[in-house]
Subunit: 235 residues, 2 copies
Amino acid sequence: MAHGKIYLFPSLLSPDTVEAVIPRRNIDLIKGVKYFVVEELRTARRFLKQCDRSIVIDELHFDVLNEHTPGQDVEAMLVPALEGHDIGVISEAGCPAVADPGADLVAAAQRKGIEVVPLVGPSSILLALMASGFNGQSFAFLGYLPLEGAKRAAALKEMERNIRQHRQTQIFIETPYRNGRLISELSSKLPGDMLLCVACDITGQNESIITRPLRQWRSHADDYGKVPAIFLLYN
Amino acid sequence: MAHGKIYLFPSLLSPDTVEAVIPRRNIDLIKGVKYFVVEELRTARRFLKQCDRSIVIDELHFDVLNEHTPGQDVEAMLVPALEGHDIGVISEAGCPAVADPGADLVAAAQRKGIEVVPLVGPSSILLALMASGFNGQSFAFLGYLPLEGAKRAAALKEMERNIRQHRQTQIFIETPYRNGRLISELSSKLPGDMLLCVACDITGQNESIITRPLRQWRSHADDYGKVPAIFLLYN
């Protein structure tokens, strides 16, 4: 019997934006899938209903894969695919397996020779990079910067080096309540002519993606309150 | 008068895939835009027709921005936006301003305070990363590896170091006729247990995204002939 496939279904970054960010093919495919591996049950169910109101949630099988899932439980989630059923992967926001535990499931599928099909959808990293005006021929996504003082100082130095030596755009995130502190810190510790792009509410009603030299950001440190944002540095 | 906006319209990676990779909102927006900055006239016109057959190409204004465009010509392409008209940016394949000269136009728009709106669409980098099973919390896109011997050896060493020390997925591309040579080279110069993912014809009929240890790739160096592919390394 042929294996099922693993479909990676991107979900929304902002509420009520299915038409804005999800291609038609994703909707057609998701309606045929009965087995799902999801990061968060509630958001996955809501997303499925937004994709197509005719989807009957109670007829679907859900496994939850999040940061608390023991590593040894992941392979068992592939059993439906080994038995010939397609599996849909849905993360809490954006593209599965980019910054969530879905990558472990995909890695296990690749080891077993199960076909993995990535579908198009919103990625805050990629959308922010496009709109920043920064180098997209060379870039790095670093996740969160280290918190501990010496390690954080070293991370800033390494970002500066990678920008100067490799012309590499540096992309990272921060816990939202620290946005203001981060912007102040970057403004005071890195050269004033270095460019910072701050992107928030991407694909949403209040989308804002602004690039300025760090010296101009000093007076804007408090513009972002506690909203999730993504940060990009370049020169 | 309010400025127009710069809309970044992703185009197709594979022919006849508008329904598969382009969300509805992009089509609705592109029908209202009269001024375009495109990387290649012929592919942009064909893409517009595929988005909506009712678009009348002869009523649209096109500026071409490619690797031969002098840097000083870029700002003038923003004049329609300064005069209140929206501008659409379309690159030859995939997401504008990621690996093409559109980034210069976006940078100029950011300097002038013109709003830049990135739209969702296919990115071979992101789709390959999703399906690789590799770390998406930390990754780098390097473009092409250097060709010159000593620089190339140093680039391989640095990739290995970034994988081991920073758990950072390394993503790069190669001129298609060199695919086989690259796979052989990686297999012989990097540890056999390191994982290589090769992705080709992403979103197309013959999409293939396969992750294997390098020691298993040795016998598959010639699988890819001259097709455009993207390469990812991780451990």
